[in-house]
Every structure is written in structure tokens, then in C-alpha cells.
């Protein structure tokens, strides 16, 4: 049976290690070609990006700051995936959760830290959970496919959140529609305050640690709890789950709720972390959708997702900084590369799968 476990290992390495790396390399290669065609030396470009991100603690913390929200939306995708569900609605869940957590933050202003901070996170989770549970409920009760409903719920959330902010919370003098600022009790401490080698006052904040803790908790939930057992059973084989007396309807709704809850906390990084401290919708657009790519690149595994989120943070943070040095390369090069990573990943995974199949056939 040694060879069997060797085959499993090969499978793991290929699908979860080699495939994402190849996708990333190819994306950089194509990005490099585009940059060359714009008359810029790609090596200079990328090495500048590298030094901007990794050259100093400030760079690293900026990168972490950009990476953190992706982790939450990617977890939303992956958690649902474990239960056999496709939650494409992280974008909408993120907005609803974000508004909910901001509201708690500027409403219960008398509460001290960390009580208000924690309440804000709970509110973000619940807001996202509500928005995720609705498609779950529609699937269970009406058989509506969650891919369709979660996408539709995105549009509703975007419009709804915009409406609420403009008509209820916004002060016309502000110019741009945002909510009032959250109270100090809700502030997420900067990593500079917690970990000595981070620069004081960096915008990277405790939400990054929350993300890591959440990754651990998710693993425990799925692998060690009764609920996790039932969620996995439902995802892997609903018929057998039904046979086992598992209430698959309730598990489906619950999974979608937890998944949405993850997305609901994504904007805490911006709203509670060092910065403007209000909910500004236009700042978060696309983080939910990019979460899909991050989740896939991280191969639906919490550790992988943290790495993938950091890569996305790397690209985004690098893009912002590198503009100063290479003004003729548009910032959107990064979005192109993110898209290429996703497309190439899907192709490479398919090739790896075929290769493994051939290998099995040849014995």
C-alpha cells in the first residue's frame, strides 16, 4: 500500500502545489510580455514590485493590509465548497456585513474596546450570514440554484447598501456617500501596536490575525465537530447524508450562512482598521469576486488561501507603488495578471488531472 500513499502524495503535490505555482509563473510571464511591449523592462518592473513589498517592514505590512480582506471572501467560497455549494455571492455578503458592522460601530458609541470591536465583527458576520442564508433557504425550499441566486443577491446588496447609506446615514456635506465614523471602541488595533517589528501605526491590523485564527477554527470545525461532519457529509454525498439522518436542508442553510458570515467580515479591515473608519462602498468593489480566484488558487485549503491572499495583496500593493517608477505601465496590469492566474490555473489543473489519470492507466 506504500505505492498507494505515494500516489496520493503525488496527487497532492501536483494539484495543490505544482499547479498553482505553474499558474502563477505563467501569469508573471505573460504579464512580463505585456510590460515589455509597453517599452518597460519587466525584470526591473517586477524587482521593483518585490522590493516595494518585501524590501521593508512597511512594505510587508502594506501587503498584509491589502491581502487581509481577500482571505475572508476566499474563505466564503471555500467553506461553501466543502459542503458542495457554490457561493458566488461573497461580494453582496461583504457589503451587507460591512454596513452592519459599521452601523454597530457608529451606533453603540459608548461601548469600550474590545466589546464594541467584537460586537462589530459579530454584526458583520451576521449581516453576511443573513445574505448567504437566503440563497441557502431558496435552494432548500424552492430548488433555486445557489449560483443564480447568490449572483442576483449581489446586485440587490449593492443597490440596497447604496440606498441605505445615501438616504439614511450620509451627511450631504461630505460629498461622497459614506456612513458616520465608528467609535474608538471599535477600532482594530494596528499590528504595530501588537507585534514589535511592525512599524508603529501601520494600517495592517489585527484583522489579519483574526483571519489566521479563523482558518484554524474552520479546520477544527470541519474535521472535529459534529456539525463539520454533517456539513462535509452533505457536501460529499447528500443521499448518504440523508440516509444517515442528517437534516440536509438545515445543513445547507447553515453552511451558506457561515460562508456568508466570512464574507461579511471582509471590510472590517478597512472600516475598523487604521484609516477613515467609515463604510465607503466604492472602496471595496470587487473584493468579493476576487475572493473566488483566491479561494481556487488556495485550493480551498485555509493555509493555501492565506498564501493566495498574500499573493493578491502583493500584486495590488505593488501596483499602487510601482506606478511612481513606471508611469507608462497602467495599474490594471495587475488585474490582468490576477485574471490570467485564474484562467491558467483551471487549465493546468485539468492537465494535471489528465496526467494523473494516464499515470494510473499505465500503472
Amino acid at each position: 500500500m506504500n505505492s498507494e500513499s505515494r500516489r496520493d502524495l503525488l496527487f497532492n503535490v501536483l494539484m495543490n502545489g505544482v499547479a498553482p505555482l505553474v499558474a502563477i509563473l505563467i501569469a508573471f510571464a505573460i504579464g512580463g510580455i505585456v510590460i515589455t511591449s509597453l517599452g518597460t523592462n519587466p525584470f526591473a518592473f517586477f524587482s521593483r514590485m518585490l522590493s516595494l513589498n518585501f524590501g521593508s517592514m512597511r512594505g510587508i505590512s502594506q501587503m498584509i493590509y491589502r491581502a487581509t480582506p481577500y482571505f475572508f471572501t476566499a474563505m466564503a467560497l471555500s467553506f461553501a465548497f466543502k459542503a458542495g455549494l457554490f457561493n458566488i455571492g461573497a461580494e453582496g455578503q461583504m457589503f451587507v456585513g460591512g454596513l452592519a458592522l459599521a452601523w454597530v460601530g457608529f451606533t453603540f458609541t459608548w461601548l469600550p474596546f474590545p466589546i464594541l470591536f467584537i460586537l462589530c465583527l459579530v454584526a458583520g458576520f451576521l449581516g453576511g450570514a443573513l445574505w448567504g442564508a437566503i440563497p441557502g433557504y431558496l435552494k432548500v425550499k424552492r430548488g433555486a440554484h445557489e449560483v443564480i441566486t447568490t449572483i442576483m443577491m449581489n446586485f440587490i446588496a449593492i443597490a440596497l447598501v447604496q440606498y441605505i447609506v445615501q438616504n439614511h446615514f450620509m451627511n450631504p456635506d461630505w460629498g461622497i456617500p459614506h456612513t458616520p465614523t465608528v467609535a474608538e471602541g471599535a477600532y482594530a488595533p494596528s499590528l504595530g501596536k501588537i507585534i514589535p517589528w511592525f512599524p508603529a501605526g501601520t494600517r495592517a491590523n489585527i484583522m489579519f490575525l483574526v483571519a489566521i485564527i479563523l482558518a484554524g477554527l474552520t479546520l477544527v470545525l470541519l474535521q472535529r465537530t459534529k456539525l463539520g461532519y454533517e456539513i462535509r457529509a452533505t457536501g460529499l454525498n447528500p443521499n448518504s447524508a440523508e440516509y444517515a439522518g442528517i437534516n440536509i436542508s438545515s445543513r445547507t442553510v447553515m453552511t451558506m450562512a457561515i460562508s456568508g458570515g466570512f464574507a461579511g467580515m471582509a471590510t472590517a479591515n478597512f472600516i475598523l482598521g487604521p484609516g477613515s473608519h467609515y463604510f465607503l462602498k466604492s472602496e471595496y468593489g470587487g473584493i468579493g469576486f476576487s475572493g473566488i480566484a483566491v479561494g481556487l488558487l488556495g485550493r480551498n485549503n485555509p493555509l493555501g488561501i492565506i498564501l493566495a491572499a498574500i499573493l493578491f495583496g502583493f500584486l495590488e500593493n505593488g501596483a499602487l507603488g510601482v506606478q511612481l517608477y513606471f508611469p507608462n505601465v497602467p495599474r490594471q496590469i495587475v488585474e490582468i495578471m490576477q485574471a490570467i492566474i485564474l484562467i491558467v490555473l483551471v487549465i493546468v489543473l485539468e492537465i494535471a488531472r489528465k496526467f494523473l489519470k494516464r499515470l494510473q492507466k499505465r500503472g
Binding site: T225, K226, N237, Y243
Partner: protein, 528 residues
């Protein structure tokens, strides 16, 4: 066991010293195999014996590691299925390879389209298909869509596909595994007709009855080796079973007299309607006592699945009552039913009975995972689960590298053993078992039967649903025949025969309704 291959003169196909290795297994271990032109040759052996592998080598799907294939005494290499097709060899796989949304004709011609001036000639194709099918004795509508057709018909399409490619040698991999008894009958006819036309047929099976009914010669494989080839007329089921398993096998079950105790379950007037309002289960009543096996015989699709799934909490009855030792379990929750001591071996092991992507341990608590033994309010008791699994793996002799192995890598027989072991290790007082030995090999069948009879001897009750009449008769005490959702006959297992049950199963005869009900409820004298 010594090899006793007779010298085969002038075989059409001869495979010599075939070796085929997969990681960790020698699937074919210097196998010799030969086929005469025009014969029906059965290839039998337990699951994992290497039958499919050998045929895939012959069909060019797998490349052999060593050995030689001769066709018409000429040594040659068959490097892919196309090369096999050119030699006139065709194969019908265990899992059908049809495109469901396409028509019958399109499926058959796929890859071999008939074209005139570069345009598909559908009319010509249809004619060829009608001709081919009437030649071997059945009718088919070439324009029907495959997705609307039953499994039996799909298999015929696969056969036509092979004939359309002008095959002279047909390999069928476990063709009867998916068929109902009637469909098996018509497959027999088709194969006999093919033989009359001079075709050569190799069919893989592990049902010895089929070998005796159909084949001219039979080759037995065990653990990758060929153990011998026999003329069917000169061998017996017993001999073949022993060759397959490598030891003495009991084909008949030892059924001791068991002391019948108190009534365990009493079900009355059970009815289950489908969405259209038709009665899928129609006014069924029965009771089972301790130490008693109540068999339900019937052709698949007559309501037995629905009856069992509603009894075990997966589905709900529209009306009727189920009482288990005075507690009302009508439409109770699956978990409650298990807690009351009712186990369930479902008929579909992969799509009901287990989760193939779960480990052996995780599968061992499926359905029992909420029991205090295996979980607290929030957490699973992983160590206790694993301990339980290890003990049961040992006790039930389940072949698995470890309890952490995914269930998907177990063989079918061991998967079934896992399910049986899971249910029995919870010591149910009543076990509901549907097709407990379907698709598993003689050795495993013997094992399951023995365990079930042991439970009966211990005073447990058993509700057994099976389409294998031998199994029903040899295990049961009382037998009900179900037809279109109704019990239409009740029999004492000692006083009935396969033939008698067969007549009732087709609905051609039925007993008096009140009489059936009275016997099923085990009442000596009529009510009132």
C-alpha cells in the same frame, strides 16, 4: 489449486503469460487465456481477481507488461481499442459509455458515422441499426433519446454499437450486474442469437448460475492468476466456487431452527403516494418477531425501496402505522429509529450506504455519529470512533490498509462488508437489509449470509429485501411477494420454490388480500 487447462487446439485468441502490474498490485500474474471461435466463454472470479484488467489488455486499453497475444495463431500487439476494433474485437464496458441526450442512432454511429458526399446519412444508419437489432432478436427505436431509455435497453445499444463496428468477438464486462431478472432473460436470448450467427462471446460475471445457464467454457481467475478453464458441462457450481475462493465455500446457507420470541415490529396499512398521487406502497401490513427473517421478494421497482426508506426515516408514509415494541415510530426521524435499535443496510451502497470520500472510520459512524459514544454536544470523539472502527475492521475481516484510508479505495465487497459491519456492530434488534449481497463475490456473500443468520440465532429480527430468489428462500422464514406496491402473496420459506415465487413476482397470480394480510401479520386465526 493446480492448473488444469485443457490443450486448446486452434484457438481464435490466445493470451500467454500476461503480466500487468498496477502500483502495489499484480493485477494479472502470468495469465494464460484462450478462446475458441464461436463459443461463449465465461470469465469468472471474485472482485479484484483481474478479469477486467485482462480484458482491457486484450482490448488495447491497458498495455501489458509482459506476455504475448496471438490472434488466429499470429502474434501481434494490440496497442489501442482502434487496433482491437480492426481485428473485430469489441467490448461492452461495465459502466456504459453513452451520450444520454443523443439519439440511439447517433450513439451507435458515433465515431463511425455513415456519410454520403460528406453529409451524414442518417437514413442509411437507421436502416443498418434496425437490421442489426432484428437480426439478434429485439426491436429498438433508433430515434429515441438514450436518456429516456432503461438500463436494459441502454445495454442493448452498447451491444449494437459493437456490432455496428463489425465485431466478431464481443467482450461483455459484468453485463448482468445492472439488469433486472427479466432483462437478464432477454440478454441471454440476445447472446444465444449472436452465437448462432457465429460470433464469439467472452462474458465476465461472478454469478455462477449465469455461467451454468449460458457458457460453453469457463475460465476462473483468482488474485490475478488463472486457476483453470473448464467445460461447463463437466463442472459444477460448487467446484467453480471453490476455485474462485480457493477454499470450500458453502453455497447453501446453514439455517438453524431459531426460537421465535416476541413481536419486534408491527406495521399496518402502510401507504405511500408519489407526487402524482399514485400508491407506490399500497396498504402493506406485516409483523416480525425476534429470531425471525421476513423476506420480501419482488422485481426491482415494485415499491420495496420506498417501503424500506420510509420505514427507516428517509421517506414518509402517507398513512399507516409502524410500532416497534409498543413505541410509535411512524414517520419518525432517522436518528430516533436508529436509537430504537433498527439498523439499515441500504440497497445502494455507494449512493446511500457510505460516503466514498470519507475515511473508513468516518464511514463506521455514519448515521450513528450523533450517538454519545461517538460525539459530545459539539465535538466528535475521534479516538473512540477510530477504536470502534479498528475493532470492527478486525472482527469483520475488512481488507483495508488502515482505518484512515478513504472508503473509495476499498473493493466493492469490502465496502459492502463495511456497511454490514457498521450496522451489525451497533447490535440492532431489528435489521432492515436491502440487497445485502448485490454485486459482491461468493466469498463475501457467504460471509454476509453467515453473519445475518448469526443475528437471527441470537434472537434479532431481520427484514430482508432481495431480488435474488435463492437468497430470499434460503435466509427467510416467511416470504411476502411485492407487486406494484402490494403484498400479493405470503409464503412459508420451507414450502415454496423459486418457480412459485417467480410466478407471483410477475403479477400473474395473487392470493386473497385478507389472507395475505393475516399471514403477514402472523395471525393464526382470522380477525373477528
Amino acid at each position: 489449486m493446480a492448473r488444469d487447462n485443457q490443450i486448446d487446439t486452434d484457438p481464435l485468441i490466445r493470451m500467454e503469460g500476461i503480466n500487468k502490474r498496477f502500483p502495489g498490485v499484480l493485477a494479472n500474474d502470468s495469465v494464460d487465456f484462450s478462446v475458441q471461435e464461436g463459443e461463449i466463454h465465461a470469465l469468472v472470479g471474485e472482485n479484484g481477481a483481474g478479469k477486467t484488467t485482462l480484458m482491457k489488455v486484450l482490448y488495447g486499453i491497458y498495455s501489458k507488461d509482459e506476455g504475448q497475444i496471438y490472434f488466429d495463431d499470429k502474434p501481434l500487439e494490440i496497442k489501442d481499442p482502434k487496433a482491437a476494433n480492426e481485428l473485430g474485437i469489441g467490448m461492452v464496458h461495465q459502466h456504459f459509455m453513452l451520450v444520454p441526450p443523443l439519439s440511439v442512432a447517433d450513439n451507435i454511429t458515433l465515431g463511425r458515422e455513415i456519410a454520403k458526399y460528406g453529409v451524414l446519412d442518417r437514413e442509411e444508419a437507421k436502416e443498418r441499426i434496425l437490421e442489426l437489432s432484428s437480426d439478434i432478436g429485439f426491436e429498438i427505436d433508433p430515434e429515441a433519446r438514450v436518456e429516456d431509455l432503461s438500463v436494459g435497453v441502454r445495454q442493448r445499444i452498447e451491444i449494437l454499437k459493437v456490432l455496428f463496428r463489425e465485431a466478431e468477438v464481443l467482450i461483455l464486462d459484468e453485463p448482468t450486474a445492472v439488469l433486472t431478472p427479466q432483462e437478464v432473460e432477454s440478454l441471454y436470448e440476445i447472446l444465444n442469437n449472436l452465437q448462432e450467427q457465429g460470433k464469439t462471446i467472452i462474458f465476465i460475471t461472478h454469478k455462477l448460475n449465469e455461467v451454468m445457464d449460458l457458457a460453453d467454457r469457463v475460465t476462473v481467475m483468482r488474485e490475478g492468476k488463472d486457476v483453470g478453464t473448464k467445460e461447463v458441462q463437466e463442472t459444477s457450481k460448487n467446484e467453480l466456487a471453490n476455485m474462485m475462493v480457493g477454499r470450500e465455500v458453502l453455497l447453501r446457507v446453514e439455517k438453524e431452527e431459531a426460537e421465535k420470541g416476541e413481536e419486534l415490529i408491527r406495521a399496518e396499512n402502510l401507504t405511500l403516494k408519489n407526487d402524482e398521487g399514485a400508491n407506490i406502497v399500497d396498504d402493506i401490513s406485516f409483523s416480525i418477531r425476534e429470531g425471525e427473517v421476513f423476506g420480501i421478494a419482488g422485481v426491482q421497482g415494485n415499491g420495496q425501496t420506498e417501503l424500506i426508506e420510509a420505514l427507516t426515516g428517509i421517506n414518509e408514509f402517507s398513512s399507516g402505522t409502524v410500532e416497534v415494541q409498543n413505541s410509535d415510530l411512524t414517520n419518525a426521524d432517522g436518528q430516533v429509529i436508529r436509537e430504537e435499535g433498527i439498523g439499515h443496510i441500504p440497497e445502494d451502497r455507494l449512493d446511500r450506504g457510505m460516503i466514498t470520500d470519507f475515511t473508513v472510520t468516518e464511514n463506521f459512524v455514519l448515521g450513528y455519529h450523533t450517538f454519545e459514544r461517538y460525539s459530545s454536544r459539539i465535538f466528535m470523539k475521534l479516538r473512540d470512533m477510530d477504536e470502534h472502527a479498528k475493532k470492527a475492521v478486525e472482527e469483520f475481516d475488512i481488507k483495508t490498509p488502515s482505518t484512515k484510508t478513504l472508503a473509495e479505495s476499498l473493493s466493492g465487497g469490502n465496502q459492502q462488508k463495511l456497511i454490514v459491519a457498521r450496522e451489525l456492530s451497533q447490535q440492532p434488534k431489528l435489521l432492515i437489509a436491502a440487497q445485502p449481497t448485490r454485486g459482491i463475490d461468493v466469498g463475501a456473500i457467504e460471509f454476509v449470509h453467515e453473519r445475518l443468520m448469526k443475528e437471527r440465532a441470537r434472537g434479532k429480527g431481520l427484514l430482508l429485501v432481495s431480488s435474488e430468489l435463492d437468497e430470499i428462500i434460503s435466509l427467510s422464514d416467511r416470504i411476502a411477494v411485492i407487486y406494484e406496491g402490494e403484498f400479493i402473496g405470503m409464503f412459508d420459506a420451507n414450502e415454496t420454490s423459486k418457480e412459485e415465487l417467480g410466478v407471483y413476482m410477475t403479477g400473474s397470480e395473487r392470493q386473497d388480500k385478507e389472507e395475505v394480510r393475516r399471514k403477514a401479520l402472523d395471525k393464526v386465526s382470522p380477525r373477528e
